[in-house]
């Protein structure tokens, strides 16, 4: 009995040692440089490198798990607690993976509505904020009236978030839909969810919207938008000149500006190592429940 116990403790010790070594791979200052044989290091290093790359890919789907890049607003303890709370919330309701440009249906509890719930469908035009304060904005046009609703992603009054169409657009923010023709942001409330086959990469919708004539809410011509087709039609010579004057081609090379906007790999991999497993489990659970979903005949589309 005691032998068995000792063996298990040895095993645990070995596992701990392995974990510690693994987690040290990307820390900035290892205590000393290890020098195992060259063949071994390269193999081990490669495996770790690819594992780490796979973990880092999570950042696109769950950007709100990364903290604010401004060091003045960082607080490692608060961030950790927030991540735990976010995972807790995600175990309560299914918060699916979505991007700017995806079409979502959000149901929230609303004490003033007759059915006590309120369902809104719209295209996600912005994702913002980090931690528990992450938010997203849905836009739709109902009865010729543009509507935008901003939801907190971890709001306890949200009952369900459903992705009706999972796709990305050409731009990171779709505020130009406000000045575009209404058909580009009109989505019917009884839209059927489109299910992507498993393992396909997220499709990018290359649609280019047409803007209404001026006046506009913002100077779209200065923002180098890829998803707008007819911006040049509405510009005067004056605007073109000013656009040229306002260009900042050096910002692409401003290395510290980029650095201040992101979280470095070493910090990121620590965070993803903390939450990756649980996120993966939640995703598996979601897939299982999706497979169990009873088959329903699609609604007949009239008109």
């Amino acid at each position: 009995m005691s032998l068995a116990i000792r063996r298990t403790t040895e095993l645990i010790g070995a596992a701990k040692w392995f974990l510690r070594r693994d987690s040290r791979v990307l820390s900035t200052l290892p205590e000393k440089v290890e020098e195992p044989p060259a063949e071994l290091t390269s193999k081990r290093y490669r495996r770790r490198f690819f594992q780490n790359e796979a973990i880092l890919e999570t950042r696109h789907a769950y950007p709100e798990f990364l903290p604010d890049p401004n060091p003045n607003w960082r607080n490692s303890l608060r961030e950790k607690l927030e991540r735990a709370d976010m995972l807790e919330r995600r175990s309560q309701i299914d918060i699916p993976e979505f991007y700017v440009g995806s079409v979502l249906a959000v149901t929230i509890s609303d004490p003033h509505a007759q059915s006590k719930t309120n369902r809104f469908v719209g295209i996600c035009i912005e994702r913002k904020g980090c931690g528990l304060r992450a938010e997203f904005t849905l836009r739709n046009v109902v009865d010729h009236q543009g509507l935008e609703v901003r939801y907190d992603l971890y709001d306890p009054t949200i009952q369900s978030i459903q992705v009706l169409r999972l796709e990305k657009r050409l731009d990171d923010k779709l505020f130009y839909l406000r000045d575009a023709l209404p058909e580009y942001s009109t989505f019917s409330f009884d839209m059927d969810p489109e299910i992507l086959p498993e393992g396909t990469p997220i499709p990018v919708n290359p649609v280019q919207v047409k803007l209404k004539p001026r006046p506009w809410l913002e100077r779209w011509e200065r923002q180098e938008l890829k998803g707008v087709s007819n911006i040049e039609e509405h510009l005067k010579e004056k605007d073109r000149v000013r656009r040229e004057l306002r260009k900042t081609p050096w910002e692409k090379y401003d290395l510290m500006k980029q650095y201040r906007k992101t979280i470095p790999i070493e910090d990121q991999s620590k965070i993803w190592a903390e939450v990756h497993n649980q996120l993966q489990q939640l995703q598996m659970a979601r897939k299982k429940s999706a497979r169990k979903r009873t088959f329903t005949t699609p609604k007949t589309q009239l008109g």
Partner: protein
């Protein structure tokens, strides 16, 4: 409450990065600032040790660190990194230096790649604070407190040898004097009292 930009991955810098960038005063605004920093970074990569005004030195250090860390992370076959190096290094032969000399030098390093030291300040002068920015592993003599072992400098080796010779000469002189004295004593004194003295000494040691 901003969301971190996830489109690019960067390695962590091993220096402290202030939250806000410094504005370097110039007529052209942000573009002029970057131009100034480009000149400084090029100079640093070229000469490996330069003296600067403090704020410009601190700012240029961050950019130099970023440039080297990008070069280490992506290597010379990565098009965007090549573009960045091409932009930041005004003299194009320095791109070769960056990838062929500095990357191998700093690949296995665990610390930052540059060193920033305060330069001595002239008392009662109105000049701004000066700093010295250098790449680590440069061929120049070490700055700051010199804790190097200088025993093997040629002057010290020669001085040590001279001291040794002098001492040996002195010892020889003493030895000669002592021998001469003993010879004198032997000739003047009888042997009997000396034996008695020895015996009494032995007793003392036994007790």
């Amino acid at each position: 409450m901003n969301q971190a930009d996830v489109s690019k991955l960067v390695s962590k810098l091993r220096i402290r990065v202030p939250a806000e960038p410094r504005k370097l005063r110039n007529i052209k605004g942000p573009e002029g600032r970057i131009d100034k920093l480009r000149k400084t970074v090029t100079g640093l990569i070229k000469y490996e040790r330069i003296e600067l005004n403090s704020n410009r030195g601190q700012e240029a250090r961050q950019y130099a660190e970023r440039l080297i860390s990008e070069a280490i992370r992506h290597g010379d076959c990565h098009k965007p990194t090549m573009d960045i190096a091409d932009y930041w290094l005004l003299e194009k032969e320095l791109i070769h230096k960056l990838f062929k000399v500095l990357v191998p030098r700093f690949q296995d390093s665990n610390t930052c790649y540059t060193r920033l030291l305060n330069a001595p300040r002239i008392i009662h002068s109105r000049n701004p604070d000066k700093v010295i920015l250098e790449l680590k592993g440069n061929p120049y003599p070490v700055l700051g407190s010199n804790k190097m072992n200088n025993r093997f400098l040629i002057q010290n080796v020669l001085l040590d040898a001279a001291k040794y010779d002098y001492r040996q000469a002195k010892y020889a002189e003493f030895a000669k004097k002592i021998v001469n004295k003993e010879e004198k004593i032997d000739t003047t004194e009888t042997e009997a009292p000396s034996i008695e003295k020895q015996q009494s000494d032995d007793k003392l040691t036994q007790s």
